[in-house]
């Protein structure tokens, strides 16, 4: 699980072009759409692309994403749960 979380952080930085950050800057329970990272609505849609590209997981309605993309913890939990 912790390996998955580290991998996710690197993927988030890559997919969202957060070049100013390192994986260490993103804490597991930190709200991704809080003040710290400055993410916006387009970034939320990029999370959908990230999940589909890297994990083959499809989210059809962006509103489902709200809870899933809350933090690295919640993302990892979603991936674990839906793994084939």
């Amino acid at each position: 699980m912790s390996e998955l979380k580290e991998q996710l952080k690197a993927q988030i930085i890559e997919q969202l072009n957060l070049e100013n950050l390192t994986p260490a800057d993103i804490k597991n329970d930190m709200p991704l759409f809080g003040e710290e990272l400055g993410l916006d609505s387009i970034d939320a849609l990029e999370f959908i692309v990230l999940l589909e590209q890297n994990y083959g997981l499809k989210i059809t309605n962006p509103s489902e994403g709200k809870d899933i993309f809350f933090s690295v913890d919640s993302l990892a939990a979603f991936i674990e749960k839906n793994k084939a």
Binding site: D40, S41, I42, L45, V49, P62
Partner: protein, 364 residues
């Protein structure tokens, strides 16, 4: 500031949309409340059947074919002596032009066709400012007339449906599964459309029976987000305010508002907030996206032509797809196409890049 502005007159040039190949055909379809939107099998990136407002007679080379199609009516409505005059400028309003030929220069073919096939004398100017392009282009045309650099300016708004654009809007989750329902409670997004609209701006009256004057216009940026509409409607409010001041018009004098109204949750909400802040809520208002879809760079010009029709016939068209208000601020959406005196019209547009633009027309 120049308070004694020279007259600028507008007249019809051409209108080719899924609803018809001429201004008159489109007018008839609008009166009947027809929509140009239909579902197309496998039009989506993963084979969704998106509704589109597509011109079905065109099978390939959509941009060039559509541009050429507009010349038939243009030649009937605008004399050759104007089209081919050195005192005439052409302004093209488009977001992606001939994106079909990408990676080649997508903006080149249109210019070549205008010069070689229509015989346009001066190098055409291209405005590419996302969804506000059409209104910006008309505002610019008036600037050219008022500066006396040209006697006539032909504004061509044109964009076509492409996988490029459809897949892009799909990735933004911005496409509606049903035909767009601007300002409605059930709205879920846009419907993409295509079309070409041509309007002529002139220093003299070019149509003796019916005449509309351009008063003024402006643009204003939201300074907020590159794709998300402002939560406060700031840019749109500022643009309308500037346009009113420049036009020497009191907002109470406005008879009708031709809004942008794309059908997305956030855009329509933003517009309702802006109109509410300006206390324009009670003005009859519509969005034409339920008829033509969102035609991007063509939208502002198509909708301005429909404003001219409303003024000529004192007829305001129902906001197709709308049945009950779905924005936090109440607007007076037109639910039945009806006769009313239309002397002064406000046309607005908003788009990606945070752009907002507006203009005001008055019956002469």
């Amino acid at each position: 500031m120049d308070t004694n502005l020279k007259n600028v007159y507008l007249s019809y040039g051409a209108l080719v949309t899924p609803l018809g190949n001429t201004v008159e055909e489109n007018f008839a379809a609008l009166q009947e409340g027809k929509s140009g939107i239909k579902k197309y099998t496998n039009s989506g990136f993963t084979n969704e059947n998106w509704p589109l407002a597509k011109i079905e007679q065109i099978s390939e080379n959509r941009f060039d074919t559509l541009l050429r199609a507009s010349f038939i009516e243009l030649n009937q409505k605008v004399p050759r002596t104007i089209i081919n005059s050195s005192n005439t400028l052409v302004i093209i309003s488009t977001t992606k032009a001939n994106i079909d030929v990408f990676p080649n220069d997508t903006f080149e073919s249109g210019i070549e066709i205008l010069k070689n096939e229509l015989g346009v004398v001066n190098e055409p100017i291209i405005v590419s400012n996302a969804c506000i392009s059409g209104v910006v282009a008309i505002n610019l045309a008036a600037d050219y007339i008022r500066s006396e650099k040209f006697k006539d300016v032909i504004v061509i708004g044109i964009d076509v449906i492409s996988d490029f654009v459809v897949y892009g809007f799909q990735s933004l989750y911005a496409i509606s599964e049903q035909a767009a329902k601007p300002f409605d409670k059930e709205r879920t997004g846009i419907t993409l459309g295509e079309g070409v609209a041509i309007v002529l701006l002139s220093s003299e009256k070019r149509n003796s029976e019916f005449s509309v004057k351009y008063l003024n216009g402006s643009s204003s940026n939201d300074a907020n987000h590159i794709s998300g509409p402002s939560r406060t409607g700031e840019g749109l409010v500022r643009s309308i305010q500037k346009t009113l001041v420049r036009s020497h018009i009191n907002k109470d004098q406005i008879d009708f508002i031709s809004a942008h109204g794309t059908g997305t949750i956030y855009n329509d909400e933003m517009e309702s907030i802006a109109f509410d802040r300006l206390t324009l809520n009670s003005k009859p208002i519509n969005s034409l996206k339920g008829y033509f879809g969102h035609t991007l760079g063509a939208a502002g010009v198509i909708e301005t032509i429909v404003c001219l029709l409303s003024m000529e016939h004192n007829l305001i068209f129902k906001s197709l797809g709308y049945s009950s208000i779905g924005t936090s601020k109440i607007l007076n959406l037109i639910t039945d196409t009806s006769q009313t005196q239309v002397n002064i019209v406000l046309k607005t547009a908003s788009g990606f890049g945070g752009g907002n633009a507006s203009l005001i027309l008055i019956k002469d």
